[in-house]
């Protein structure tokens, strides 16, 4: 058992549960494909994808719960270990991000498969880039917010007033995140841009959507709206993640176990 397998063992229910949710959704989509309800399948796929995305929030919540419950005993053995705070935090972050990578990976793969089966045409890089985008801009900072918050709870065991402050501080982190993004948005030229992907819906779908005959070229529509896809959320997400990672490591090295 190493620190990574320890984290996996501790969170096996969460990991198994998340993957089960993703696989059930995949099964449901497969069943819908068989019934050939093309538009319904696509709409359900997109709709449920957005509904399932926030389930990933469970990972940081479980990390917080795990760390705060460790304060009742196991944390003393972890903190007195000569292994560095970096090793402990990296293991937690690795397992948290790995779980979300797998979860969002299943969502992206199923979406790509359903879209392909329905005749939607898109650039081959789109599912991969969308997956990496979500991980860097959303999942990585989210997992680290969970680790930092959990460590604060475990180490300082704040009372109700203190917890209100901690929650306010967490929202503060999201405000900083939003602020960095706004700042980045004003300096858009500094960041590379992604091209709007090729995304074409099949001919049969157009009438169902109340449009004229022919293929529906979403690339053209999106391009006229956005021009390109900004990458600054990825950079600001990674910046925030690096900052929170450093805070978590420092906290681990300095915390008390009273």
């Amino acid at each position: 058992m190493n620190l990574v397998t320890l984290e996996l063992r501790k969170h096996r229910l969460l990991i198994g549960g998340l993957l089960l949710v993703a696989l059930l959704w995949a099964g449901w989509m497969a069943r819908a494909l068989v019934t050939q309800e093309v538009l319904f399948t696509l709409a359900a796929n997109v709709g449920f994808l957005f509904a399932l995305l926030p389930v990933g929030l469970l990972v940081p919540i479980v990390l917080v719960r795990s760390l705060s419950s460790e304060a009742s005993g196991p944390l003393a053995f972890l903190l007195t270990s000569p292994r560095s705070g970096l090793a402990h935090v990296a293991a937690r972050f690795g397992v948290g991000l790995g779980t979300l990578a797998l979860y969002y990976g299943v969502l992206a793969a199923v979406s790509a498969w359903v879209a392909g089966a329905l005749g939607v045409r898109y650039d081959a890089w789109l599912p991969w880039v969308a997956w990496a985008y979500v991980l860097a801009a959303w999942a990585a900072p989210l997992v680290l917010v969970g680790i930092v918050y959990g460590l604060v709870l475990a180490a300082y065991r704040p009372g109700r007033g203190g917890q209100v402050v901690a929650v306010a501080a967490t929202f503060g982190v999201f405000s900083v995140w939003s602020g960095i993004n706004t700042l980045a948005l004003e300096r858009l030229d500094l960041f590379p841009q992604l091209p709007v992907p090729r995304l074409t819906l099949p001919r049969e779908m157009a009438p169902a959507l109340g449009l004229g005959p022919g293929e529906l070229d979403l690339q053209h529509t999106l391009q006229s709206l956005f021009g390109s896809i900004p990458t600054f959320p990825v950079f600001t997400g990674l910046l925030l993640a690096a900052l929170l990672f450093w805070v978590a490591v420092r906290l681990w090295e300095e915390v008390e176990w009273a």
Partner: protein, 226 residues
Amino acid sequence: MLVELREVTRRFGATVAVDGLSLVLPAGEVVGLLGTNGAGKSTTLKLLAGLLYPDAGEVRVEGEPPRRVRGRIAFLPERGQLYEWLDPKGAVGLFSTLYPDFRPRRFYELLEQLEVPKRSLSQMSKGQRARFLLAATLARKARLYLLDEPLGGVDLITRDRILAALVSEWREDATYLLSTHEVAEAEGIFDRAVFMKEGRVVLSASAEELRERGQSVAQAFREVLA
């Protein structure tokens, strides 16, 4: 000196848990840290383990702050708990990962000596859990062992087993600092007794010095702390 506390004070809000404590301990001794409830024993052990920081004064283990030499300190907390799913095999994996000085063979020997069943913690009694954690702590080859109430809340036979395990583990290059209320049962293994009251050391004497005064550790406990 292996352990040195100089004028150490630690507060929790308005409560002063340790108040200007000074203590020096050489290597190779089994030291009893004795005192009534709230005397500051657990706080002192946590300060030495590097799990608490002093508000004033200095704590040194082998001349360094404890957190810096935590690989050489084995700490058994009073309310020691581990993951419920942990069994002996899992504990070997976990402790080998956490502590490079952990000796799996010694751990299994200690489990046998302490008569701990080979099942997960969730299926063990309170006494078995206490012995399991003690075995895991003693299976490390540390320089300083800090054992917080290892005899607390266990039956008489278990106490004897724990004390026998401690005696069998004694090494000349290590110091064992053991806090306990069970003075009568444990006094046979102490080289030195440190009596604490209201966060201060009121008496630190070797067992030999106490004998010369015609006192047992238990008698001194009653006399000094009553």
